[in-house]
Amino acid sequence: MLPLTTGYFAGYQPMQVLFGLFAAAALTGAILIKDRNLKGMLWEALAVSLILMLGTYLAHNTIVNLANRKIATGFDFLDREARFEISESLIPYSAASTYGRAMLVGFLNTLKVSILGIILATILGVGIGILSLTRNWLVRQLAGGYVHFLRNIPVLLHIFLWYTAITNLLPPLRQALSPVPGIYLSQRGFFYPVPEPATGWTAALYGLIAGVVLAVAATRVARLRQDRTGEILPTGLVAILLVIGVPLIAWLVGGAPTAFSVPALKGFNFEGGTSISPEFFAVFGALSVYTSAYIAENTRAGILAVSRGQIEAGRTLGLSEGVILRQIILPQALRVILPPTTNQYLNLTKNSSLSVAVGYPDLVSISNTTLNQTGQAVECISIIMLVYLATSLATSALMNWYNRSIKVVER
């Protein structure tokens, strides 16, 4: 065994001994002491010490084994040049960037596909869930079929199916479909124009944010007023006007730029504009459609959990079916829907790790390459695990906070 007197893992062996002593002390105390409360606490202390001891033992053993086999350890590699390219990235990246930055690119790609996937899965899921409860027999059967068909096929197959469909059914690059000039659809992806950077467009972006904030505020004010006076204001119309109008004015004030960067065939590929890759689209489509089947079932269960009396009371009051759905059923159903749907959000995020099967550069894909080039398996796998753990904990914290905010206020 090598002496491990240097490095940041050197502390593990003394810690192991220390926890061992704690455990022994707790055990002796637990056996000798008569006081029931103190005895109980000492047994708990024993359990905790044993777990900590096992943990430090495993960590220490791993380090010693790696050192014995002369395998490099530590996270220094994160600061070395990655020397591989990544096909799509939300931040500037090149082969000259570090492994650390490459992993960040992978993490952002994971977040991108997860967040967009969650949004689409929610919209599809809630919609299908409501449709599966309509009185129309055909619609009900179609919604039921959607759920049963999609959730009974493994998610990896969904991803392969989407990818194969895109790369095999869409035309090659040079025969790309172009429904509108400047927009191209081919097996290399979806290419579309984007505005050339200009003050007007930046202003419009800020205008959009301001418009959304104003619309939310206006709706709040209208709601308070309705609670106080009973007067119903046209909130929908005002909100739409604000969301469209404010950025439009900002764009006009900013000089009304109209220059667009339009994709054009050049060399091997389209240049200009921007694109959505088939890899991203396959993962995004497959994950959101697959997860939407589960969310649809959660929604259906949530709606069925609302007592029929509530709906009948709404009808007695002469409310329209739409108002009953939005104002009476959904707010109550949400409390049932939310906890299992949080699970689905977490599943979607974790399932995005299957991206490497079709070449979407997510965290796992990038880490695999890093692992293979550096050979530092323990470190790379730890990073993957910690990042997924942190992301999942953050998602559930957010959802739990929302869940608490819509809880029934007991009076």
């Binding site: 055990l27 086999r69 990544i86 894909s365």
Partner: protein, 346 residues
């Protein structure tokens, strides 16, 4: 009752606390004890290691496994082939799941040092190349600026690719997919302009996987990297390293000395050439042997068995690699303008 349980718990703790890292014993002893050589190979690469319909492994890498088993255990059939992916291979060797890795792995400085491995020889000099559809009208890799390139993850291929394009100030878009079947699927569907991997892999793909017998595809002339492929063992067991190293050299020397699978046993009895006698452990006129076997820690007939297992290097090459359409090239013997050279086996 409770107290005795507690005492046992303390005793167990003491044992757990004192156990340290598992001691890795000499590999040869472990192999002999198991009476089987665990050899890590590719999950399926034509010419190197691929299982046929009866489950028999064929290929250059698989034959190297057989030669080593013949030397270490006296029986070329005592090999357990462990198919490994690119990501699994080094970990499997480090952990002792396999005794030797013979899986078209490139010898590099960092793998030889930081991964705790030793590469013993080069059994095949490879290099990374590009395959394109003929209709792309590209004649050189230098014309590939802006191309989309399909590549399999878990290899040095990604790194060579990025290096080559950076060195030539060109851009490209990688599509990095985990499984070879999916990479090829994407490439042949037209998702990428180019497919890149080692030249041996391209030759195998062109012959076995390309639609229309490969008539619509071609391999570009550039070789963008050096990929010396060969077996690897764990660092720290010099005897085992030597056994693997000289098992392979015996095959190369056999080609040079004209010893084949068919004539090796005869030559071992009849040859009067001192070099051949030395290699095959034949006693000379005075009944003395070269002592090569003793030096390696095996018996003197080791090289006879290695050659008997799968033939000499050229027999192995002609049986496995030639059908892919790859001529000997730099893999010829040094005496024929190639790089294959065995140190004197004396």
């Amino acid at each position: 009752m409770f107290r005795s349980g507690a005492i046992w718990a303390v005793a167990a703790l003491a044992v757990v606390g004192s156990v340290s890292a598992a001691y890795a014993g000499p590999t040869l002893d472990a192999v002999k004890k198991a009476d089987v050589l665990k050899c890590g190979v590719n999950t399926g690469l034509g010419g190197f290691s691929i299982a046929d319909s009866t489950g028999k492994w064929t290929g250059l890498d698989a034959d190297v496994c057989r030669a080593i088993a013949a030397v270490a255990l006296g029986d070329a059939n005592k090999v357990k082939f462990v198919p490994l992916s690119a990501q699994q291979r080094f970990t499997a060797l480090q952990n002792g799941e396999i005794d030797v890795l013979s899986r078209n792995s490139t010898w590099t400085l960092q793998r030889d040092t930081k991964l705790g491995l030793n590469f013993t020889n080069v059994t095949f000099y490879d290099g990374q190349g590009f395959m394109v559809p003929k209709k792309l009208n590209v004649k050189s890799a230098k014309e590939l600026n802006g191309a989309t390139i399909c590549v399999q993850t878990g290899t040095t291929t990604e790194l060579n690719l990025a290096d080559y394009f950076r060195a030539n100030s060109m851009q490209f878009k990688p599509v990095v997919i985990e499984q070879q079947q999916e990479v090829l699927g994407a490439f042949f569907a037209g998702r990428c302009d180019v497919y890149t991997t080692d030249r041996s892999g391209l030759a195998s793909t062109l012959k076995n996987d390309a639609p229309n017998g490969g008539a619509d595809y071609m391999v570009l002339p550039e070789i963008i990297s050096k990929e010396p492929l060969g077996p690897a063992v764990r660092q720290g067991d010099e005897q085992w390293t030597d056994i693997v190293k000289y098992s392979v050299y015996a095959l190369i020397q056999a080609e040079e000395s004209g010893i084949t699978q068919a004539n090796v046993e005869d030559l071992a009895k009849t040859s009067k050439d001192p070099a051949v006698q030395g290699l095959l452990g034949t006693p000379n006129a005075e009944g003395k042997t070269s002592g090569n076997g003793e030096a390696l820690g095996v018996d003197e007939a080791w090289a006879v068995r290695a050659i008997k297992a799968a033939g000499n290097y050229s027999e192995i090459y002609d049986r496995n690699i030639k059908p892919l359409g790859l001529e000997r090239g730099i893999n010829a013997l040094w005496s024929q303008g190639g790089l294959m050279y065995s140190p004197p086996l004396r």
